[in-house]
Amino acid sequence: MTYTAAIFYFFAAILVFAGLRVITARNPVHAALYLVLAFFTAAGLWMLLEAEFLAITLVLVYVGAVMVLFLFVVMMLDINLDRLREGFWDYLPLAGFVAVLLMIEMALILGSRHFGLDVTGTPASRSADYSNTRELGRLLYTDYVYAFELAAVILLVAIVAAIALTLRRRKDSKYINPAEQVRVRRSDRLRIVKMQAEKRPGARIQDSGEGGA
């Protein structure tokens, strides 16, 4: 077994274990953290395929941003585990049917007849100065520019929709426009009155040390 193969089996074992734990962990926070582990390990496998841009982006986007927000939400929710597990046996037949269907579909497409080493072959190994990032960028912005732009527009629509769904003006908000805040001048709010010091008639002179502490 070569060094690379040893790494592959090591990562694959962790990935399968983490994937299993995502669906079997009782605590949702643990499940989310196992998903983080699964993403990270998958990035390691992609790195073995010399797809360094995809591998690093997987960590950057999914581990560094998406899963953080995911954890954020999961931690704030008050999840009742017993209620979640209610009706497990009722749903099992339907879920089992869907799972078997998925397995059959995947077996049809991903069988060794279509994806074996004799069909696709080992990808050519590139030299160290080959930039996967540059090649990917060139392809995306030349050959596949329309598909890329379409995907970008769909994402933009999704962003606008998400903001429109959650945007609401709260009536009890005490929000003040910061631009107005910084534009305030002293003369708008404060008036200094110059006058002589006066003494209340009949008052004793206060002890000056009283307010010092």
């Binding site: 193969a5 560094g64 953080v68 954890l71 996967n132």
Partner: protein, 338 residues
């Protein structure tokens, strides 16, 4: 699968790499120790105090004494805490802070791993630092820790976007993701550094760097007047010290990256002096001094102001400047932006 055999060349490579890692981590940890000393001294002087001056000459052994004290202390695990995650939190905080140093070049030959996608690697690894904070805050089973973790998570995710866009500007100017190539692109004296054509991005990167490391004036994650000490309020002894180490290692990392990407790294500012690691250290030290100066000068931001600054000021500024740089590169003045 074939037979398993011991690959002595691989073993040798692993041992040699371990030695190199030690050569990076040991000076880094010493740097962290003396950065805490420098912070206390500098802020002391700025506030017309003396700062630590009892342990050793001029207080120079103070960080060692602090470290020993924290090592001796007991690590208390709160009874309601999630034990495994509570212990995992500090590990996840320090691991990315150290792992990112693998690709940081000190000179054009002195680098642990000179990889093509160095800049992407640094961004990906540093984006994982937030897990230490979140997990620590959640596993502590304490309101203050949890609030601190939530604040920190929202803040780090927000500022990472502005930071990433600032780096896109650098990537456009250097046309490479390799950190050594980025520095080489700034050769030719101080006026060739990317800080000049990318000045708005430099400012955004520096301030976002302060926010990313949860430093004052963006340190609401540990705002002691509101939530005691934030996410690490339940930690004691070495577990607390590890968070401390991670914060300072991240500070040095951000300073080093600012130096590499905007201030010409190890390149000499003038032609008659040779390039060298001295310049790298001087520039990084200067950026670190800025960090300390900020802390001594500015009052803490309010939380909604932090969010507003990140989303409504920094992200538009970076977007506009990226488009501007891209447009200018197509004009006869394009060479100014390379």
């Amino acid at each position: 699968m074939g037979t398993f055999y011991v690959d002595w060349a691989a073993v040798q490579t692993v041992l040699w790499t371990l030695l190199k890692i030690m050569a990076v981590v040991v000076p880094l940890m010493l740097g962290v120790a003396y950065l805490t000393y420098a912070e206390r001294k500098v802020i002391g002087w700025m506030q017309v105090r003396i700062g630590p001056n009892r342990v050793g000459f001029q207080g120079l052994l103070q960080p060692i004494a602090d470290g020993l004290k924290l090592l001796m202390k007991e690590i208390i695990i709160p009874s309601g805490a999630n034990r495994s995650l509570f212990l995992l939190g500090p590990v996840l905080a320090i691991a990315p802070a150290l792992a990112a140093w693998a690709v940081i070049p000190f000179t054009d030959t002195l680098v642990l791993a000179n990889i093509n996608a160095g800049l992407l690697y640094v961004m990906a690894i540093t984006s994982m630092g937030v897990y230490g904070v979140i997990i620590a805050g959640w596993a502590s089973n304490s309101k203050y820790a949890f609030l601190g973790a939530m604040r920190s998570a929202a803040q780090i995710v927000s500022y990472e976007i502005a930071m990433g866009f600032a780096l896109v500007g650098v990537l456009m100017a250097a046309q490479s993701l390799n950190l050594i190539d980025i520095v080489q692109g700034q050769a030719g004296g101080w006026n060739q550094w990317y800080v000049w054509p990318l000045l708005p991005l430099f400012v955004v990167y520096l301030i976002a760097g302060v926010a990313e490391t949860n430093r004052a004036p963006f340190d609401v994650a540990e705002g002691e007047s509101e939530i005691v000490a934030g996410f690490h309020v339940e930690y004691s002894g070495m577990a607390f010290a590890v968070f401390f180490l991670a914060e300072y290692a991240n500070m040095i990392l951000v300073a080093a990256l600012t130096t590499l990407m905007f201030l010409g790294g190890w390149l000499s500012p003038v032609a008659f002096l040779p390039d060298g690691i001295v310049w790298w250290l001087l520039k990084t030290g200067f950026v670190l001094f800025l960090f300390l100066w900020f802390r001594a000068t500015f009052p803490r931001y309010r939380y909604d102001q932090i969010m507003r600054l990140g989303w409504k000021v920094f992200i538009p500024v970076t977007l506009v400047w990226i488009v501007f740089v891209g447009g200018m590169m197509q004009t006869p003045y394009g060479h100014l932006f390379h």
